[in-house]
Subunit: 615 residues, 2 copies
C-alpha cells in the first residue's frame, strides 16, 4: 500500500501499489477533472507531485508527453490517470478555477479583446485646507475630478476625512462613470478588480477579474444554497410566495453563497474585497428576481409576468454582497419570464448582433432557451424541456460527475464511457443523448419512441444487444450496464418511460426551434450556425443530438459548443462599457415568442416527437 495526500484539502488515502493517481483521488473523494474517463486522451487530469517522487519526468507515458509542456514536466506535473504510484506521494490538485475556466471555452485566452471597463482610477494630489481655504473635503475631491455632476455618496463622505489625511491629501479616486465609489490613500491605480457572476438554479459561478489587465485571475463555484428550498425554479418561486421573509431568506442564501466564494477567491489572490469595484450578474429571470429580493410569484402561473425586465444597477451594500459597499452591481436585463439575463449573456458572447446569416443558439440547462438570429431580428423562446437532459425524472439519471455514463456506443454490444473511469453509477445528459441516438440507430427504439418488441424488429439486433431488451409495453427497458459491471450492483437501464421523457424534451426544443424559424420565415437549410451554450453543450455528442432530432439536421461542422457563454457575456459586460451597452440593446431588440400561446406550437410539438429524421 502507498499513502497519498491531496493538497489543498489535506485528504489522505491508502491505495494499492500500482494504482494511478486518478484512482487514489476517487478513493479520497477529491475532484480531479477528467472527461475521457482515464483513457489518457483528454489531457485534463493534470496534477502536480510535490514530494516523494524525486525523479521528475521519468517513466512518462506517451499521453503525458503529448499533453504536458517541458516546463510543466520540470515542475513535477503528471497526468493523474497515467501516473502509477509506487511510493507515498503528496499531490497538489489544480484549483477549481482551472476546471471552470476550461469550460468557458469561448474565450480560450481568458482575455477579452479591447477591454475598456467602466472603472477608472485617478491619482489626485490635493491642496491641504487652511483657514484661508476652508472648502469641505467632499467638494475638494469632487472639484479635482474630470467629470461633472458627481452624485453625493454618503458612504464615501463618511470616511473621507480620515482617508484624505491618511494619504496626506494624495489619494486615488475610484470612479464608475460619474459616480465616486471610493477614495483611497496613496496611489493605488495598479489594483482594480471586478466580479462576473453567473447564478444558475443549480450552480453559482463567480469569476474574479483584474480590470486593469482584462483577465480572470480566479474563479469558484458552489451549489446554489437556495437548493434547500427545492431544485427547480418553481419550487423557489413557491417558497418566495410565502411572504417577504421567505423572499429575503432566498435572497440571503444566494448572496451568502456568492460571499463564500468571494472570501475564498480574495483570500487566495490577496485581493481585498474593498478593491472589487464592480460586478455583473447573469441568471435566469427567477434567479435575478431572487438575487435582488424581488417577488417572483407571478412568474409561475400564466401569463408568466416578471416584476421587472430592465437591467438593474444597485449598490453592493444594499444587497449584502461583500465587496466595496458602493460598488455598482449590474444585473443584465431579462427578456421574458423564462428567458433571463443568462440568455442575454449568451447572445452577447455569441455575438448575436454581429453574425451574418441565420444563427441558432440553444442553451439547455434546467430550462431550454432558444435564440434565433437573422434577417434583422432576434427571436427568443423558452421550453421547460431541460431537466430531462440533466437526468431529472430519468430512472438512472444523474449529474455529470464521477461514475456517470457520458458516452454510449452500440455495435455488437453496448460500450460506455464513464466520467472518472470508475464503474458507472448512472447516466448523465450527454450519455442519455448518446444512448437514445444509438438505440434509435440500431433499432432498439422505433421512430414512434417505442422500445422494439415485434419479432421482426428484434431479429435485426445483434444477439448481445437483443439480450438487453426486456419487459414489455410501459414496463419495457433496455439494459445499458449489467449489475456486475455497475458501481451499485444494479442493472443500469433506459426505461420506456425514460425514452418518453427524453422524447417530450427533445420534441419541445425542436418545436420551439421550428416556431422561431417559421416566425423568422426561414428554413432549416438556411441555418448557418448552431451554437450550443452551457456545460451541456460542451459534452453533448453532436451526431447524437442530430440523431434523436434534438437539433435540426444541419451539417456537423455548423454546430459549435461555445461553453459557458452566459458567464462569458457577464465577463464581457464587466470589462467593457460598450459590451454592457450591447447587452442592453440585445435585450431590447429580442422579441419573445410565448410558446404556450403560439397557435402552431402544439402541432410542431407532436410532429417533433418522432425519431424519424426530417430536414
Amino acid at each position: 500500500m502507498v499513502e497519498v495526500k491531496f493538497l489543498p484539502s489535506n485528504k489522505t488515502v491508502s491505495v494499492q501499489d500500482g494504482s494511478n493517481i486518478l484512482q487514489a483521488a476517487i478513493a479520497a473523494e477529491v475532484q480531479v477533472e477528467s472527461t475521457c474517463g482515464g483513457k489518457g486522451t483528454c489531457g485534463k487530469c493534470k496534477v502536480r507531485l510535490q514530494t516523494g517522487e524525486a525523479d521528475k519526468g521519468v517513466n512518462l507515458t506517451p499521453a503525458e508527453k503529448k499533453f504536458l509542456t517541458p516546463a510543466e514536466i520540470e515542475s513535477g506535473w503528471v497526468l493523474a490517470c497515467q501516473h502509477i504510484l509506487s511510493e507515498d506521494a503528496v499531490v497538489v490538485l489544480q484549483e477549481q478555477k482551472d476546471a471552470y475556466d476550461r469550460k468557458a471555452g469561448f474565450h480560450d485566452s481568458e482575455k477579452i479583446r479591447a477591454h475598456a471597463p467602466g472603472i477608472r482610477k485617478l491619482a489626485l494630489d490635493l491642496k491641504e485646507p487652511t483657514v484661508g481655504d476652508q472648502g469641505a473635503d467632499w467638494e475638494r475631491v469632487v472639484r479635482a475630478l474630470p467629470v461633472e455632476d458627481v452624485p453625493f455618496s454618503r458612504p464615501v463622505a463618511a470616511s473621507l476625512p480620515q482617508k484624505l489625511r491618511q494619504g496626506k491629501f494624495k489619494v486615488t479616486a475610484v470612479l464608475d462613470g460619474v459616480r465616486l465609489l471610493a477614495v483611497e490613500p496613496g496611489d493605488t491605480r495598479d489594483r482594480s478588480y471586478g466580479l462576473a457572476i453567473d447564478i444558475g438554479t443549480t450552480t453559482v459561478v463567480v469569476y474574479l477579474v483584474d480590470l486593469n489587465r482584462g483577465t480572470v485571475i480566479a474563479s469558484g463555484a458552489v451549489t446554489n444554497p437556495q437548493n434547500i428550498f427545492g431544485a427547480d425554479v418553481i419550487a423557489r418561486i413557491t417558497h418566495a410566495a410565502g411572504g417577504p421573509q421567505a423572499l429575503q431568506e432566498l435572497q440571503e442564501k444566494v448572496v451568502g453563497g456568492i460571499n463564500g466564494i468571494i472570501a475564498q477567491l480574495t483570500g487566495k489572490c490577496e485581493v481585498s474585497p474593498e478593491e472589487i469595484y464592480q460586478a455583473v450578474v447573469v441568471g435566469n429571470t427567477t434567479m435575478s428576481h431572487l438575487f435582488l429580493g424581488i417577488d417572483p410569484s407571478f412568474l409561475a402561473p400564466a401569463p408568466f409576468i416578471p416584476a421587472f425586465q430592465q437591467a438593474v444597477e444597485i449598490e453592493a451594500g444594499e444587497l449584502g454582497l461583500n465587496i466595496l459597499a458602493t460598488a455598482i452591481v449590474t444585473v443584465l436585463p431579462n427578456v421574458a419570464g423564462y428567458v433571463g439575463s443568462d440568455t442575454v449573456g449568451v447572445m452577447l458572447a455569441g455575438g448575436a448582433d454581429r453574425l451574418q446569416g441565420v444563427n441558432l443558439m440553444v442553451d439547455i440547462g434546467t430550462n431550454g432557451e432558444i435564440v434565433l438570429v437573422g434577417k434583422g431580428s432576434i427571436l427568443t423562446c423558452s421550453t421547460a424541456a431541460g431537466p430531462a437532459f440533466e437526468g431529472a425524472e430519468i430512472k438512472h439519471g444523474m449529474r455529470a460527475a464521477e461514475g456517470a455514463i457520458e458516452r454510449v456506443h452500440i455495435s455488437s454490444d453496448v460500450e460506455v464511457g464513464v466520467i472518472g473511469g470508475t464503474k458507472p453509477r448512472g447516466i448523465c445528459g450527454s450519455g442519455l443523448i448518446d444512448a437514445l441516438s444509438e438505440m434509435v440507430r440500431v433499432g432498439v427504439v422505433e421512430s414512434s419512441g417505442r422500445l422494439a418488441a415485434k419479432e421482426a424488429q428484434l431479429e435485426n439486433l445483434p444477439p448481445l444487444v437483443r439480450r438487453r431488451l426486456r419487459g414489455s409495453g410501459g414496463g419495457a427497458e433496455f439494459v445499458l450496464v449489467w449489475g456486475e459491471d455497475s458501481a451499485t450492483g444494479e442493472d443500469l437501464v433506459i426505461s420506456q418511460k425514460d425514452v418518453r421523457e427524453l422524447q417530450l424534451a427533445k420534441g419541445a426544443i425542436m418545436a420551439g426551434i421550428r416556431v422561431l424559424l417559421r416566425e423568422l420565415g426561414a428554413e432549416v437549410r438556411e441555418i448557418d450556425r448552431v451554437f450550443l451554450a452551457g456545460a451541456f453543450g460542451n459534452y453533448i455528442g453532436k451526431q447524437s443530438a442530430l440523431g434523436i432530432g434534438l437539433l435540426p439536421l444541419v451539417p456537423l461542422d455548423r454546430i459549435a459548443a461555445i461553453g459557458n457563454a452566459a458567464g462569458d457575456g457577464a465577463k464581457m459586460a464587466l470589462l467593457s462599457v460598450a459590451e454592457k451597452e450591447r447587452a442592453l440593446s440585445l435585450a431590447r431588440q429580442a422579441r419573445h415568442i410565448e410558446l404556450s400561446s403560439d397557435k402552431g406550437f402544439q402541432e410542431e410539438f407532436i410532429d417533433a416527437l418522432s425519431f424519424e429524421q426530417k430536414v
Copy 2:
C-alpha cells in the same frame, strides 16, 4: 385640599383650596406654557377643564375674558394662572405641538403660501397582463407615468407584483421628481405627508406636514439623545472621533429620537409612516454630519473643515428613519464648519435673497451665527458666543423653564419675572440680558464691565439696590433675588465672572457683526432690519439687547423676532421645490468669513467688550 388630575399624563396632585391651576401644574411637575409668570398678561397658559366644574364660563377674570374666545369658553377653556380651584378637577393640557408651533412665529397661519411640493401622486388604471401582453410589472407602471428616465427602485419593484394585483391594476404611483417612491393599491391621492426636521444640539423638533394642504398637522420635540455624550458639539465630535462605531452610535441616537417623535405623531394623526414620502432636515454642520453618519472629526480643530458642504439627498431606509424606506431625505447644505443648514433655513425663511437694503440675521443658540445680506452679497460668520446666553458657565444660569428669571427691572429695587410664576431657581438667557442691561443702566456695572465699587458709583444707586452689591474684585457679586424669595433658599446672584462671560459673548457677536459690516462696506445706520431667529430671539428684550451692546444700535422697530426660522425654512423647502432650490442657491451665494483668521476681528472684539453705547 382639592385633587387635580392632569391629562394626558395622568399626573395627579393635591393642592390647597384657593390655589390656581398653574400652581397645581408646577406641583405636579407638568409643563404649562407661560411667559408672563402667572400675571395673566401673556394669555399662553390656556388649559381645558374636563369635569368637576359644571358651570363653564362663570367667575371668569378680566384676563380670561381678554384671551379666551367665546367658543373656547364654551368648551371649558380657562387660563391656568387665573382659575382658582375650589373642588376636584381634571385638566387637559394643550399638546406640546401648540407650544412649539407658537414659537414658530414667522408663519402664524402655519400655511406656507404657494406650496408646490416635489411629491406627486398619480392614479393609474393599467391594463392587466395576458399571454399576448407579457410586459413586466415595473415596465408596465413606468410606461404609464408622465415622466422619462425613471430610475429603477429595488424596494418598489420588490413588492410591486403584490401591490398591482391587490389593486386589480388600479394603483396610485407616488413620484418625487422622476423617482418612483411607491405604488399603492387603489386611489390614495388624498393622503400625502412629509416631515420637516430641525436637529439642534440640544433639542430635536419634527413637524408632520400634510403635503396636499400645505399645513403642519402635528409636531413634537425631544431632547437630542446624543446629549449622553456631552452637551455641546465639541463633546459630540470628540466622541465621534472614537471611530466608526462611535460615529454610528451617535447617528443611531439622533435617528432613534426622531423615530420616537414620528411614532407619536403618526399614531396621534392616524397617518402611516409609509405615507410620509419626503423629509427635509436642517441642523448645524456637526448635527448634519452626525445625522448622516459622516465623520465630523476635522470640524473641531482649525481650520475647521467639514466633510461635505452640499445638500445631501438620501433614502430614508439608508438612514434607518422610520418613514417610507424610499422617501428622499434632503439635508439642506451647510455653508461652513460652524454655519450649518439651520442658518440656511433662517436665510430662506427670512427671505435673504429677496430683501431690499441691508439686513442682519442673528441666530443665538449654542453658537451664534450671523448673516449679513445686502449690496448683492450674503456674508456669514459664526462665533462660539452662544452658550453664555443659554446659561452655560453662568453661576445661576439655567434654561428657559419653570422657575427661571426671564425678566429683570431695576428701579428703587430689583423686580424679576419668573417663568411659571413660581419662586425663582435661576436665570435664563433673556433674564441675563435684562439683568445686565439694567445693571449697566443704573450703574451697578460700569462700562468696563466691572461691578461698581467706588464710593462715587455706589452713592448714585438706590439704597435697596446698593445693598445687593457685595464682595470685591473678582469675587464681587450682585444679588438679584434674596434667599428668602428664591426656590432654593439661596441668594440668586450675578457674579463678576458672570458679567465677564456675558461680556465676552456679546463682544464676540458684536465684533462678528462689525466684521461683516466692514466686509460689506456698510455702516450700522444703513441696517434696515435686524432679524432675531430662534426661541431666544422670541423672548429677548430688544431694548436690553441694545442696552448691553449685543446688537448694533438701530431703532427698536427695525428689530423683529422671526421665531424658529430654521424649522420654517425646512418646512418651506419641504412644501415647495422652488423654495428648496432657493435654499441651495442661498448656500452657494453665501460667503463665509472665518473670524479666527480675520485680521480685524481681534480689534473689533476688544472694542466691542465695552458697555459704552456707540453707533
